[in-house]
């Protein structure tokens, strides 16, 4: 009888031992959270929104798995550790994708800035060719004013790029280009009319 009692105690001890052998992989959890935070700092929530949401959801699923293991008599966090490795990998991919997208936007903005700068130079040349003195210099002041608005807009683009506000900078650069093209057409038309009239 005494032996059986001891056996039961031993069995219970083994059970208790087994239940406490699995430990929450806290270091891996912290690393995954840090990787997600790094992705966010890189701008993943802005530049690759859907990927970032998926990453956050993966981490939430891991938290649920941890809690599910916490509730078991015999805990086993090996699957959680595997999931965390996947989250870490995903976070790194999202960060890389974010950087790539940002670089893409930066290049697009830079190309637009160059295009607008060229158009503005062309517009300033056209203004120089336009009628002088009494014949229209004052009227051309208005067009010069418009060119000034585009120049101010493109200067804002540079400020936004420096502040890492790339998407608003892209919108602004596209809008500036649209306006610069319209001004170019307007100036060309004025000069063409002027030239054709002078020939007569």
């Amino acid at each position: 009888m005494r032996t059986k009692f001891l056996t039961l105690i031993a069995a219970l001890s083994v059970a208790v031992l087994l239940s406490s052998c699995g430990k929450v992989p806290q270091a891996e959890i912290d690393a995954a959270n840090a990787a997600i935070e790094a992705a966010k700092t890189a701008g993943a929530d802005v530049y690759v929104t859907a990927d970032f949401t998926a990453l956050q959801d993966s981490m939430s699923a891991v938290t649920q798995s941890v809690e599910a293991q916490n509730g078991k008599l015999i805990k086993n966090y090996s699957k959680v550790t595997e999931q965390l490795a996947v989250v870490n990998q995903l976070a790194a991919e999202v960060t890389t994708k974010t950087e790539a997208r940002k670089e893409e936007v930066k290049l697009e903005v830079a190309a637009l800035q160059t295009e607008v700068a060229n158009l503005l130079a062309q517009n300033n040349e056209l203004v120089a060719q336009a009628p002088k003195g009494k014949e229209g210099a004052a009227a051309l002041e208005a067009i010069k004013g418009d060119i000034g608005v585009v120049e101010a807009s493109i200067a804002d683009v540079t400020t936004q790029v420096a502040a890492d506000q790339l998407l608003p900078a892209l919108d602004k650069a596209k809008a500036a280009k649209e306006k610069a093209v319209a001004l170019n057409a307007e100036l060309t038309e004025v000069i063409a009319k002027y030239s054709s009239n002078r020939k007569k």
Binding site: T53, E67, A68, A142, L167, D171, K172, A175
Partner: protein, 372 residues
């Protein structure tokens, strides 16, 4: 024999105890794993529907309910597994799913409504830009008005690009800025035009009198400044109409020398110039300033509207070298050289020249009454 009975009894007790324990474990409450997954999925769907932005408070409630569910689960895990109770956890899961679904639906509706409002707003501003181009662009407006207009046009483009890229928040922000700039420039331009048109009934009378004057076969020139036309009437009929370019500040009457305004009033041709006598191809000099102009000039001086030392100016002509597509003169009326040739042949010294703001009323010009 005794030992065998005891063994059988012991084994029986152990079997019974194990069976009892097994039943107890089997009957023990299980954590709602699938339901927790569903709660997470519902939050994720709400996020995809941009509920964080467009149904922020409902989404926050869903998120808080999910956090409470996780806390509840962790609390229950601290109890021995046979004594756990997941009633509260299930309750929080239900709240999460319900609120997340509500946030998703609400966000969808609001997104749609915000989108259609933005689309309508952009369309309205585009119409206002068109109105500006058609009626105000060629007016000699103060530079701050045209600057505001152009800034507004650029802002509206920014709003459209952000909208195309599904960044509704930024699109709305740019749209609001564009709206303010475009409305302000249109309204200032409209007010200036409205103030100028206060003279409209006088212009109409002048124009009617001029047309009447042409009844006996006499030729009369009517310059409509807003329409930028120079029309020759004979026997009450317009026999020729030419496009005209005016002084840089053509809107409003001429007040003094150098204001680059084209005068308004009843004049007549005093000299026909061609060849070396003019540098503007051909020219028809008119008798500006006339008696009315001199009287008004003195009144303006007295009232301090113009400086005491101001000069009234002279040498207002209808001349050539026009067709530039701009208003560029110091106050003269410029026609294309071909048109100038035609007009030069039609008229003579003494031909009346009536210069008015506009024959058409303002509501016809802008498509609406100024008081609207």
């Amino acid at each position: 024999m005794k030992v065998r009975r005891r063994t059988i009894a012991g084994v029986g007790i152990i079997v019974l105890a194990t069976a009892g324990l097994a039943v107890w474990i089997y009957k023990a409450p299980k954590p709602p794993l699938n339901e927790m997954k569903m709660a997470l999925e519902s939050l994720s769907e709400a996020k995809k529907a941009e509920a964080q932005t467009y149904a922020a408070s409902t989404y926050k409630q869903a998120e808080q309910a999910y956090d409470s569910a996780m806390v509840c689960w962790a609390e229950e895990n601290k109890h021995f597994f046979l004594f756990r109770n997941y009633t509260d956890l299930n309750k929080w899961i239900a709240v999460t799913i319900e609120k997340a679904a509500e946030a998703e639906g609400l966000s969808g509706k609001r997104l749609k409504s915000a989108g259609s409002k933005l689309r309508e707003g952009i369309a309205l501003l585009e119409r206002k830009i068109d109105t500006y181009k058609r009626y105000y662009k060629h007016l000699p407006l103060p530079s701050n008005v045209s600057k505001a207009h152009h800034k507004g046009v650029i802002k509206l483009s920014e709003a459209k690009f952000a909208w195309e890229n599904k960044r509704l928040g930024e699109a709305e922000k740019s749209y609001q800025q564009a709206k303010e700039l475009i409305n302000s420039s249109n309204s200032k331009a409209e007010n200036l035009l409205g103030a100028w048109f206060s003279e409209h009934s006088a212009w109409q009378k002048q124009a009617q009198a001029a047309i009447q004057q042409s009844a006996n076969g006499k030729k009369v020139i009517v310059v409509d400044k807003l329409a930028h036309t120079c029309t020759v009437y004979q026997n009450k009929k317009a026999i020729r109409t030419f496009n005209a370019e005016l002084g840089v500040n053509w809107m409003g009457d001429k007040k003094k020398k150098g204001d680059k305004a084209t005068p308004e009033g009843n004049y007549q041709i005093t000299q026909k110039k061609s060849g070396a006598s003019t540098k503007f191809y051909k020219a028809l000099l008119i008798n500006y300033p006339n008696a009315d102009d001199r009287k008004r000039f003195q009144q303006n001086k007295k009232s301090g509207l113009i400086p005491a030392k101001a000069d009234i100016g002279n040498l207002i002509e209808i001349h050539g070298l026009g067709g530039k597509g701009l208003d560029w003169t110091d106050g003269c009326v410029a026609l294309k050289n071909d048109d100038m040739d035609a007009l030069y042949k039609l008229v003579a010294v003494g031909t009346p020249v009536v210069i008015i703001g506009s024959i058409r009323p303002l509501n016809e010009v802008t498509g609406k009454s100024i008081s609207e």
